[in-house]
């Protein structure tokens, strides 16, 4: 392994991670400085739910696609979402496994799994790019950050898939590109929409607490009453 690849795999990643953590810390600090709106209303609804139950339900809706019409009626989109985010998990895991646990990649099954997940995410990424460009609604709501983040991640998936075998016998280009992209990704994320997962626990909890208090969450599909 060349010095430059070693630097990319270790020092550069560590710097990028520290940078990302620092910006995230500042971002959360900034977010928490906003006053949390107080809910004074007495509980409404059927009385079989509460803020905690509502918050749990709200946080879990993303893994229960049947709870939202938007995910229930678009199973293909939901499947894309799952594959895309599994790809993110796999690529992030790979960026740690290669420098800190390369022995794990002796397992052909693990390599295949990572290649499958990042490969599938790459295909989804391409589909999402096409959708964002060709769908007039998506075009209208997209910012340069939306386009760039999607292209960045899709490219990263491609290189993650190729780098999963951790084989540099044919040259270090792919590995080098993967780690440079990873470092850039880590430093770019806090400034982009990719950091949405930072807010997810907050937004869904706040929504869930409010809707739980009001008896809206969990959403009802069937009668919750006994007719007299």
């Amino acid at each position: 392994m060349s010095n430059i690849l070693h630097f990319s795999e270790h020092t550069l990643q560590e710097i990028a991670l520290v940078f990302m953590a620092t910006v995230y810390f500042l971002r959360i600090k900034w977010f928490l400085k906003w006053t949390l709106g107080k809910e004074r209303q007495p509980a409404t609804g059927m009385g079989d739910t509460n803020p905690k139950k509502g918050a749990r339900y709200s946080l879990g809706m993303i893994i229960k696609p049947w709870t939202m019409e938007s995910t229930r009626t678009k199973p293909f989109m939901y499947a894309q979402f799952v594959l895309f985010h599994l790809g993110v998990v796999a690529a992030i895991a790979l960026s740690f496994i290669i420098p800190y646990g390369p022995g794990l990649l002796k397992s052909a099954a693990l390599v295949s799994a990572i290649q499958f997940m990042t490969g599938a995410a790459f295909i989804v990424g391409i589909m999402r790019i096409i959708r964002r460009i060709s769908n007039p609604y998506m075009r209208a709501i997209s910012s340069p950050d939306d386009h760039f983040s999607l292209i960045l991640l899709t490219s990263w998936f491609a290189f993650a898939s190729m780098a999963a075998s951790n084989d540099i016998s044919g040259g270090e280009g792919i590995m080098q590109t993967f780690f440079l992209l990873t470092a850039f990704f880590l430093m770019y994320v806090p400034f982009s929409k990719i950091s949405h997962y930072l807010y997810y626990p907050f937004t869904r909890t706040y929504m869930g607490r409010s809707f739980g208090r009001r008896g809206v969450f969990p959403l009802r599909k069937k009668p919750a009453y006994d007719t007299v």
């Binding site: 409404t44 982009s192 807010y199 937004t203 869930g208």
Partner: protein
């Protein structure tokens, strides 16, 4: 006013300054978390009725507000404004354009909110944007008029106290005639009543029959209730125009009158936004906790039947009925099961509408849309979705627990020739009442008590 975008109009500056005061962490979360995934797009009835026009997409509408937040309050937007679509407003014309969206292209129905995977509550910050515009006097004329009436006269239809009392006395006479009981009362300002009953000014002005129907139910239940001569309007335009000060003042007026009368419970007649405003949002706007119970009349009527205080005969309401969930009742207050349970007790043929409950579509009259005549054609066009939903039930009558929805649905039914009637639960319950020899045991007891008091 705009000198190369470096001079901002007075109103534009005020909007930006005030935004900083109105931002809560919940709203900031919603303004920050959107990933532009587009999953909310199809949830909006405006989008469905205007295919191909992205300016109706919830995320697009949200971005018109979000760009201001990003530019002025979010440092990522300050550092890379174009990259994240941050932007500001400089002219009054730009504020007018924003008004067209936040008032004219959204009814704050919250359907996109419950369909957002990220938990972005567009309706809440759309309401905030309405409030910012109203603060500088930019709002539809109807909204301005109604808000003024509610500030100055105390109810949104400008009903004077004498007219209110006159209407109640008129309905009292009707009650006495229908019940064949000259002692039957609709009490006003009675102290220590178990229930203080508040209504929508629309009932006083255009639909006094619903006050009479409620009075018949209270009479038959032998309820110790009263209506207040002040603070009887439980509707609240603060919900629609985004003015928390108005919202707080109107809600406090209702609460204060319940306290003055030493009432034990506040009951609100069937009105979606009124219920949400008075029951749910009012305490937040007025910054006060309410120590008495507050409930929808739907729950009160249901309890009367369950406790045997009134008897109903569902054969008195022949025909087929479906139920339209008010957005404010269902999506914002969880009032979905009680109206269905009550309806199933007073009609024989109830047909569910799909989608329903929290997923129901807006009647198109939400968010104060009925008072914004400049957007009427847009509203009626968006009603296509509701009209199809109604037609699919095959029912002859649509029941709703909201006066706003009654008007919105009536418009849609007429415009699309759906051929349905619109009514409320109070009308059906009153019609289904079993009146033994015209006066029930409870009514006799009540009449006796009144006679002793007199």
């Amino acid at each position: 006013m705009n000198n190369g975008k470096d001079v901002r109009s007075y109103k534009a500056q005020k909007v930006i300054d005030r935004m900083g005061q109105k931002l809560s962490r919940q709203i900031v979360g919603s303004l920050t978390a959107c990933v532009h995934c587009g999953m909310c797009t199809d949830s909006c009835h405006y989008v469905l009725a205007n295919p191909g026009d992205p300016t109706y997409a919830p995320a697009y509408k949200a971005d018109l507000i979000r760009k201001l937040f990003k530019h002025h309050y979010d440092w990522t937007g300050k550092v890379f404004p174009k990259w994240v679509k941050a932007g500001s407003v400089y002219t009054d014309q730009e504020l007018e354009e924003l008004k067209d969206t936040v008032f004219g292209k959204c009814t704050n129905c919250r359907r996109c909110t419950i369909n957002c995977p990220m938990g972005v509550d567009l309706a809440t910050f759309n309401r905030m944007a309405r409030g910012l515009l109203c603060h500088v006097g930019i709002m539809p004329e109807g909204v301005e008029y109604v808000a003024k009436e509610q500030w100055e006269i105390g109810n949104q239809m400008g009903v004077l106290k004498e007219d209110f009392i006159g209407t109640i006395e008129w309905q009292e006479e009707e009650l006495q005639e229908e019940m064949q009981d000259p002692t039957a009362k609709i009490p006003i300002d009675k102290m220590n009543a178990d229930i203080v009953y508040t209504v929508n000014p629309r009932e006083v002005k255009h639909d006094p029959r619903s006050i009479l129907d409620a009075a018949k139910i209270f009479y038959m239940a032998g309820e110790n209730y009263t209506m207040p001569s002040e603070g009887w309007d439980m509707t609240n335009f603060g919900l629609f125009n985004g003015d928390d000060d108005l919202g707080g003042a109107v809600a406090a007026r209702v609460y204060d009158n319940v306290r003055e009368l030493k009432g034990k419970k506040l009951v609100m007649s069937e009105c979606g936004h009124g219920y949400r405003s008075t029951r749910c949002e009012g305490p937040n706007w007025a910054k006060q906790d309410i120590e008495f119970e507050a409930e929808s009349s739907v729950i009160t009527m249901l309890r009367y039947i369950k406790e045997g205080k009134i008897k109903v005969d569902k054969t008195k309401n022949p025909g087929s009925y479906t139920f339209h969930d008010s957005c404010n009742n269902a999506r914002s207050c969880g009032l979905t099961e009680e109206p269905r349970e009550l309806l199933s007790l007073v009609v024989e043929d109830f047909r569910e509408m799909y989608p329903n409950r929290a997923e129901n579509y807006c009647c198109t009259g939400g968010g104060g849309a009925m008072s914004m005549s400049e957007y009427k054609s847009r509203r009626l066009k968006s009603g296509k979705v509701k009209a199809e939903q109604l037609s699919a039930t095959g029912a002859k009558v649509v029941v709703t627990s909201c006066h706003n929805c009654v008007d919105g649905l009536t418009d849609i039914i007429g415009h699309y020739n759906v051929g349905m009637g619109v009514t409320q639960l109070v009308n059906l319950v009153a019609n289904a009442l079993v009146v033994d020899d015209r006066i029930s045991e409870n009514a006799m007891k009540y009449a006796g008590e009144e006679a002793v008091t007199a």
